[in-house]
């Protein structure tokens, strides 16, 4: 039964997709042709690369840059699983409290200095230093000690057991910096970069272009194929599209939903739709009325017309979700039955909860990105039939961040995909989650997640996480109406351009240009 539904969904998605749906295994670079070396890949993007500071950056066009410049101990693959990077292997103690990473030999930083365990220790010390802003700290809080056992071995000692540590070390913001760079002024990291990745920084101009050139000493022999990569900023979508279609650029990093069908229909273009775990969620603060009542939350869930939202907001380029923040791509994700749009049932539930005449509420949405306000508007329409009278309040992003985010009672959240179920839940739902904004605090749930962390046996973990997901479905801490696809496009001359579902890993070292 489970399998059947899953398959059916994939078939449906395959039909909806124009072009190709990314295969979740190896990149399609395993094509019959042998890769050609040389050439400059021009990637267009429409958000600024405001900084190259690996520790704290978060821009959509900044991630591909650091993915090319730096390497981490581990890296997430297109299959959403952990792969070795600078660590060629690792072993964990039976209690999942001690991890030993064996580093690759002969790796050099771009400036020629050899990469050693000391650099790893310095990097992770910086990440864990509360005086330095770093995004990866929240997934590494359990780390107690990092030591260099020898120049090619690093040992992590944890305060609490954590089976997914190698996933945490693959965090996009946990790339290895050189010890020397961390000893210097940290503001230098904004504009300078000395990594071990396949490309070296050549030009950094946040107003126009970031140019990277081939690192001949990259640890994968023969790679990268490209001589250089140029990240070209187009502050205007129309101009970006026009340039891409005319062949002035090879890759369009992000395609807007409204443009996807048109771009995909052009000859010589391969538009990709990658099913991803990026989602919009409706935050309902559960230490306050009326959201403390699960019946009200369920009523809103039933009053959410997911098909309509996917059609109108995503132009069909996404999947209805079932109020779980865990996307089907993640390991241990259970199959969740679709939630029907049933306004009558919603009204009935509202009446049971003590709102026979419906419920009034103000839903806050930030103005950036536009999808938040769009979701709010569509939800208002959809929920009206279910007895919800929603007032939409859209506000500038700075006001939202300062006044509503993590504080408001009812607002629209927007999150990227996380690499594991543990990271997904630890971000938002456990009592000590980094961004606990629902006050849905459940000791039983916390205990399950804790147990999952400490369990190494796969079958047991599956069982534990199934229980956790059942609790989530039961309690509806968030309304998650849909998962949004990651949309990208490349010219057919660009081989092996891939974006991982967690759109932070790009494997540009595998890309090559088929230009005769």
């Amino acid at each position: 039964m489970t399998d059947l539904t899953l398959k059916r969904r994939h078939v449906l998605m395959g039909m909806g997709a124009i072009g190709t749906l990314a295969t979740f295994g190896l990149p399609q670079g395993a094509m019959a042709q042998t890769p050609k070396a040389g050439g400059t890949l021009r990637i267009s993007h429409s958000t600024r690369i405001a900084t190259l500071n690996v520790l704290s950056l978060s821009g959509p066009a900044e991630y591909p840059c650091i993915d090319m410049i730096y390497s981490g101990l581990t890296r997430i693959g297109l299959d959403s699983k952990v792969h070795p990077d600078l660590a060629k292997s690792w072993d964990a103690s039976a209690d999942a409290k001690e991890f030993t990473f064996h580093l690759r030999e002969g790796v050099k930083f771009h400036d020629g200095t050899p990469f050693t365990a000391e650099d790893v220790v310095a990097t992770y010390t910086a990440i864990l230093n509360p005086d330095i802003p770093s995004s990866a700290r929240s997934v590494l809080t359990m780390v107690e000690k990092i030591e260099a056992v020898d120049p090619l071995t690093v040992k992590f000692t944890l305060k609490t057991p954590f089976a997914d540590l190698p996933v945490s070390t693959a965090h996009a913001n946990a790339r290895i910096l050189s010890k020397a760079a961390l000893a210097g002024p940290l503001t230098d990291l904004d504009t300078k970069a000395n990594g071990t990745g396949p490309f070296k920084l050549d030009v950094y101009d946040s107003a126009r272009m970031v140019r990277l050139v081939k690192n001949p000493d990259y640890y994968q022999p023969g790679k990268p194929y490209l001589d250089a990569v140029e990240m070209m900023l187009f502050p205007d979508l129309a101009a970006e599209t026009a340039n891409f279609l005319s062949g002035a650029t090879d890759v369009m990093l992000t395609v807007q939903q409204a443009e996807f069908a048109r771009i995909a229909a052009q000859p010589g273009i391969e538009a990709k739709r990658v099913a991803s775990g990026r989602y919009v969620c409706i935050v309902m603060r559960q230490d306050q009325k009326p959201w403390d009542d699960v019946r009200v939350r369920r009523a809103l869930a039933l009053a959410t017309d997911r098909e309509l939202l996917v059609d109108v907001i995503l132009e069909g380029l996404g999947r209805p979700a079932a109020d779980s923040i865990v996307p089907p791509e993640l390991a241990f994700a259970t199959d969740k039955p679709a939630i029907p749009y049933d306004p009558e049932a919603a009204k009935k539930l509202l009446a049971e909860a003590g709102y026979p005449d419906g419920l009034k509420a103000t839903l806050v949405a930030s103005d950036r990105p536009a999808i938040r306000a769009q979701t709010a508007i569509a939800l208002k329409q959809s929920a009206a039939a279910g007895g919800f009278d929603l007032t939409i309040e859209t506000m500038p992003h700075d006001t939202y961040l300062a006044n509503v985010w993590m504080k408001g009672a009812f607002y629209i959240g927007y999150w990227g995909m996380q690499p594991t179920i543990d990271a997904t839940y630890r971000l938002l739902l456990t009592s000590d989650a980094s961004y606990q904004d629902t006050e849905w605090k459940n000791a039983e749930f916390d205990a399950l997640i804790e147990e999952g962390r400490a369990t190494v046996d796969e079958a047991k973990r599956a069982e534990i996480y199934a229980k956790a997901q059942a609790m989530e479905a039961e309690d509806v801490p968030y309304i998650v109406p849909f998962f949004e696809d990651v949309l990208t496009a490349s010219s057919t001359k660009t081989a092996s351009w891939e974006v991982a579902p967690i759109s932070r890993y790009f494997y540009v070292e595998d890309v090559w240009l088929d230009k005769a």
Partner: protein
């Protein structure tokens, strides 16, 4: 128009600028949130926020921040952009030239086209020309820039019929023709609206001059029509036109913000909006200052030109 008067005007400008910087600084400080929060966005754990504020120097007392900034500016150092990892001088400097090109192209085009149009309308009062020009100027003044720009985009930049690029920018040093092509629609948008203002003004001033006693006297003396117009009427209606143009510089400085945003032209306006959204205070300050200086100077220069063109004002 004495030297003392000029000095007094310049002094007033400096005072105004000082007030502007204090106001912008003060209000930005009072607002909820700051650049650190905007950089971290929804990855802002309280811990990271504190660290980022320290890194950006936002944890210092307000007066220290302001003092440091003023001290820097007085020494020609506008500081670092909080968001863009670049010196403010570089960010704003590049943007300034891009905007200046756009504005100059619009102004030059308009001056060449609008003044003759206005004169034509005044000379052929009541003709079809007058009516068309009048209508055009009424419609032009009633369209906000974003409407004109959007309509121009639909007409000239649709995917089915892309005569013009839909926005963006090419550096003139790389591809001058491409630069011009990208500049046509934004400069045209600004120009259309300016043209409406200026041609109308020239028309009404010129009509007044044409019906004045000395022109009639000149005609009576037997001077031919064209000579009367070029030697007497037009120069006398120019002073008001210059006044309008200088007022329109103020309009232009506002309009450029919208136009640059729509056509993705990397000038002051677009940079200002980006800085406002990201609470990048040093950049906001620098751009506001720069725009206020340009505006004040253009007013001053216009006053000087008017005084020079119009003897009555010169002696007043």
């Amino acid at each position: 128009m004495t030297l003392a008067y000029l000095l007094r005007r310049l002094g007033a400008i400096v005072v105004v600028l000082a007030i502007v910087t204090v106001a912008v600084f003060g209000i930005t400080m009072v607002l909820p949130g700051n650049a650190a929060l905007m950089i971290l966005g929804e990855h802002a754990t309280p811990e990271n926020l504190v660290a980022m504020e320290r890194q950006l120097g936002l944890d210092r007392p307000v007066w220290v921040q302001y003092g440091t900034w003023v001290w820097g500016v007085l020494h020609g150092d506008f500081g670092m952009s909080l968001r863009l990892s670049l010196p403010v001088a570089q960010v704003v400097g590049e943007a300034f030239w891009n905007s200046a090109w756009l504005a100059l192209m619009a102004l030059a085009g308009v001056t060449v086209i609008a003044i003759p149009l206005g004169a034509l309308a005044a000379l052929k009062r009541g003709s079809v020309w007058d009516l068309v020009i009048g209508l055009f100027s009424y419609v032009g003044t009633a369209m906000p820039e974003f409407v004109t720009a959007t309509l121009l985009l639909i007409l000239f930049a649709s995917p089915e019929w892309p005569v013009m690029p839909a926005g963006g920018y090419v550096a003139p040093s790389e591809d001058f023709l491409g630069f011009l092509r990208h500049a046509i629609l934004p400069a045209g948008t600004l120009g259309l609206i300016l043209m409406a203002h200026i041609s109308r003004q020239v028309r009404s001033e010129m009509s007044e001059v044409l019906s004045s006693d000395y022109i009639r006297a000149a005609r009576l003396k037997g001077l031919r029509g064209r000579r009367v117009v070029w030697r007497h009427a037009l120069p006398n209606s120019l002073a008001p036109a210059v006044a309008v143009i200088s007022l329109d510089v103020g309009y232009l400085l506002g309009g450029i913000i919208v136009v640059e945003e729509i056509f993705a032209w990397p000038g002051l306006g677009r940079t200002l909006i980006y800085a406002l959204q990201n609470r990048d205070l040093p950049v906001i300050q620098a751009i506001t200052l720069l725009l206020a200086v340009v505006y004040a100077l253009s007013n001053l220069i216009a006053d000087i030109i008017i005084a020079w063109l119009d003897p009555r004002v010169r002696h007043a």
